[in-house]
Symmetry: C2
């Protein structure tokens, strides 16, 4: 889709591909906003279309169903977040543990920027899983596993630098972090404040030494 | 309502009060099942009425709206869970830290009994808060605060017995526990297995010494 948008326009040919790619991107962007804020079940396609400025009936040109749209949104959020983690965790200007601290600080600022209305799309849908298409389950678990393995690599690097005690199992620590962090995001959204995020992060960093 | 059910039946008078109390209880019991499994938004009153064996149209005799019903369910779940915590945390046959371990083991068994389909009603609705009546927010926060203060008391007792290091702030530990535990329940429900619960509990207990 990105490629289609970058192709030179041919004279006399309508920019249909470009327009399509743009509309699809707008739908995904609006979908991500609504799903991080409200979750999947309570959100109607109508409000997403309205927000994206796409006429009713246009939706099925891009997605075969709400579930198909949901799958695309999970993949888009997973990719967006994995890239965010890589940006922090592969930043060699920081020590490994400072990278994790920088991610936490960035996540806090991100939630504050949206007045703690938006949480984690994967956590939201994970919580709703009892009412979602069963095929979402593996996609959600994979997303968390992907973030967790990145975090484990960062923690192993921190162990190599002596920032995290070697007695810890980095994989177990990373699993612990993501289990608790999703709880912290949930609670920050509920309380509309950063305290649960910093309370969890402070406890987590204190246990690493 | 419980009192009404225990009043002696007067001759010739239909057992209206008794029947009412019973129907109301059945609606609450069914509501708790659906909300712990699916959350609030995706659940229709129809399926709750069907499950409770209450005719359509009967609902508004007992509750003024779905939101009114939701408030009653939050209060019922809060009370049920506070009682469960008191049962464990006030059990003087166990050391204070063993009481917390016993609660964790009981919660794991409880989730396993329902094949990890049911989570925490407060966690579910907390996650959905962006799409719920705003008046639910304080009720959900109060429930968590109530469980947290019980847990802090138990941890302080564990400190008095030397089971938890005195350098810890029991209130901060209890907050940390509930932030992470809600994340663990979410993840156990998503993965349909106990591992996230034991992973979080193991990490938590390891940090207390």
């Amino acid at each position: 889709m990105e490629d289609a948008a970058q192709q030179p326009r041919r004279r006399g040919r309508p920019r249909r591909d470009l327009a399509d790619a743009d509309v699809r991107r707008r739908l995904i962007r609006s979908g991500l906003i609504f799903l991080t804020e409200k979750g999947y079940s309570p959100v109607g396609l109508d409000e997403i279309l309205r927000h994206a400025g796409v006429p009713k009936g246009g939706f099925y040109h891009y997605f075969s169903s709400k579930a198909d749209f949901g799958r695309v949104l999970i993949a888009a959020y997973h990719a967006y977040f994995a890239e965010k983690l890589d940006r922090w965790f592969l930043d060699e200007s920081l020590t490994p543990l400072s990278r994790l601290r920088a991610f936490v600080a960035d996540a806090e600022q991100g939630m504050a920027r949206h007045d703690f209305r938006r949480g984690c799309l994967i956590g939201n849908l994970g919580q709703e899983m009892g009412a979602l298409p069963e095929e979402f389950r593996d996609l959600l678990v994979s997303a968390l596993d992907g973030w967790q393995s990145r975090t484990a690599r960062c923690l192993r690097a921190a162990q190599a630098e002596g920032e995290v005690a070697s007695r810890h199992d980095a994989d177990a620590l990373a699993a612990f972090f993501w289990i608790g962090w999703e709880g912290a995001v949930l609670r920050a959204k509920l309380e509309r404040r950063a305290d649960p995020l910093s309370a969890f992060a402070d406890g987590f960093f204190a246990m690493l030494t």
